[in-house]
Amino acid sequence: MTALVELVDVSKRYVDAVALHPTNLSIERGKTTVLIGPSGCGKSTLLRLIIRLIKPDSGRIDFGGEPINPENIDSFRRRIGYVIQEGGLFPHLTARANVLLMARHVGKSQEEMQKRLLELCELTRFSGNLLPRYPVEVSGGQRQRVSLMRALMLAPELLLLDEPLGALDPLVRVSLQKDLKEIFARLGQTVLFVTHDLAEAIYFGDEIVLMNEGHIVQKGTVTDLRDKPANAFVSEFINAQRGLVLT
């Protein structure tokens, strides 16, 4: 009922292997859903299917109750923010131009854009002095903040994050984790977050979706996963990573 995105029997195979077996998944409004699993489990594929960087072989994806198809995808993309590990900023545009790119194209007024930009700087704790800089002129952490601003510019209903903190050093990572969680809470943002790090999943996830070999193995809270593992793989995955986290 409150699901923003609904995947129905969605599958994807590449030439040599199945990336995602027919899968059903609902992403609840206002919650952070974390996709976790070992590399190649299909978590990024699932994310990329939603924003249609790749086409599903079968099944249907609904967004706000409407099926997404090749004709209407661009209007949906403007309602979705997307942040990737390296930020995906365009090197020939300043931080400011990167953030405003899409707003300019949908014809927002200068005042509107300026106001939103200041809001976002405040929200993401990004110094306005750095806005005229080019991506190579700011640090990795700052780049991710710009990338987040770009994703949030048009106030999207859904934010897709594909290992957004994966390339950062631990101290920067911790401070960004804190900031991100605060931002999601302040905006009441619906988030789909991909990570391979259990600690990060636990920290962000209202709901954790554990995947393996193209299947969703179990969906629930961390307690569910720990106390009621669906199969041996779940316990193994939880224990392996918990061991690392705790010792």
Partner: protein, 516 residues
Amino acid sequence: MKRSHLSRSGGLQATAGLRRLGSRRSLVAVLLLVPVACAFGTPVVIGSKKFTESYVLGEIAKRTLTNAGIPAEHRQGMGGTIILWQALRGGQIDAYPEYTGTITQEILKRDDASSLEQIRESLARFGVGMTEPLGFNNTYALVMRRSDAQRLGVRAISDLQKYPELKIGLTHEFLDRQDGWRPLRERYALPQQNVVGIDHGLGYAALAKSSIDVKDAYSTDAKIEQNDLIVLEDDFQFFPKYDAVFLFRSSMRPDAIAALRRLEGTLDEKRMIRLNAEAERTKNYAKAADLYFNVAAPRPSGHSAPSYIGESFPHKLVRWTLRHLELAGFSLLLSVIFGIPLGIVASRGGPIGQGILGFASIVQTIPSLALLALLVPLPFFGISVRTAIAALFLYGLLPIVRNTASGLQDIPRSLRESAIALGLTSMTRLWEIYLPMASRSILSGIKTSAVINIGTATLAALIGAGGLGEPILSGLNLNDHVTILQGAIPAALLALLVQWFFDLLDRVLIPKGLRL
């Protein structure tokens, strides 16, 4: 009379195939225009081949006609036999000097046994007439340094059998002629393996510097004496007779034909050698022609640069340079207009992309000279500026297409996907994201094309399109280094300037974020 020419040439052209359809129409047009042209004094056009003697004979013919009150002009150095023959048949020229041996071997493709009467009969079927011999036999000959010949005891061509280590440098035409190197080597059983093709003028310099030991020459060549060379005796009588004659269109105005015929038997070998020597000494064909008429040449005041009278060097330099820039610039513009879209399509891969890159690469592998030669016979092109620009355009295509394609393909997948995920339309992605990101690669492709075009445009002079190749070509022909440098130095400077200009353009056109 006219009707019979028309039907005969028409029949011949039909057998020659579809390729000739265009020239048939122009032939008819020319025949219809002849009486009108005479009435209005349209000049008779004399052509000449690209070597000194042909220039001089062309100049003499022009002067003879003018003296007879017939307006005439001389199109100098149009190229080799085939080009002149086609131009004569196509009506672009009315007459040109030719040699009987060349007519039988190259034009009529016959054995050398034909008599003058047989030749004249065969030519008549093409609507072409021939004068009686002018008086000298300019046959092919092999020459070598006098000192070497004496030291080795070489007197005749058959003596070369004993010296397989001699290096032989031959003009490209001689290498390929039916009466040229291959049958000569067979007849004399020559053992030399080291045979290179070299320009006629350059060959003399190579001979003087001992880079080669034997070369081909024309027996009336003034350079034989100047360079202290000896002509090897053709002891097996291999070379056919090369009596100089004028070929003319049978439809040419009768008084012009009569004027040309007055030249018959007036030029013996000694006299021709002297005229050739005069042309090479003064670097001025008109002066050599003066000598024929025993007229004292009006001396231009002070020291003048060769071949072009009445035009100052700076003026000429400006004319050459502007034409050069026009050739290179216009062709570059076309390469950019077509190259970038083709590069965008090619960057998407697939059979079409492969096809585009393949085509551009193949064009690039054709030597520039050959590309020009291939375009000349096509309708619409011919001997014109158009042809030069078309060849340069094709040549400039590959660097732009390839660099555009690779610049676009080098954009990381994550950035392409970010642009897609933002919801930008494909046009916006191309214009605002992909092309700016590939700008460095695209510009460097354009720069490469520009520099190549400046260099290659010097070849445009070969088909009369002018530019800085003009002095280079006449310098090569006259073996005159100063004239060569008058073209070569400005061309090199121009290439540097263009390089510098594009480096500057990089700073304007490549977004700052990519230059940090």
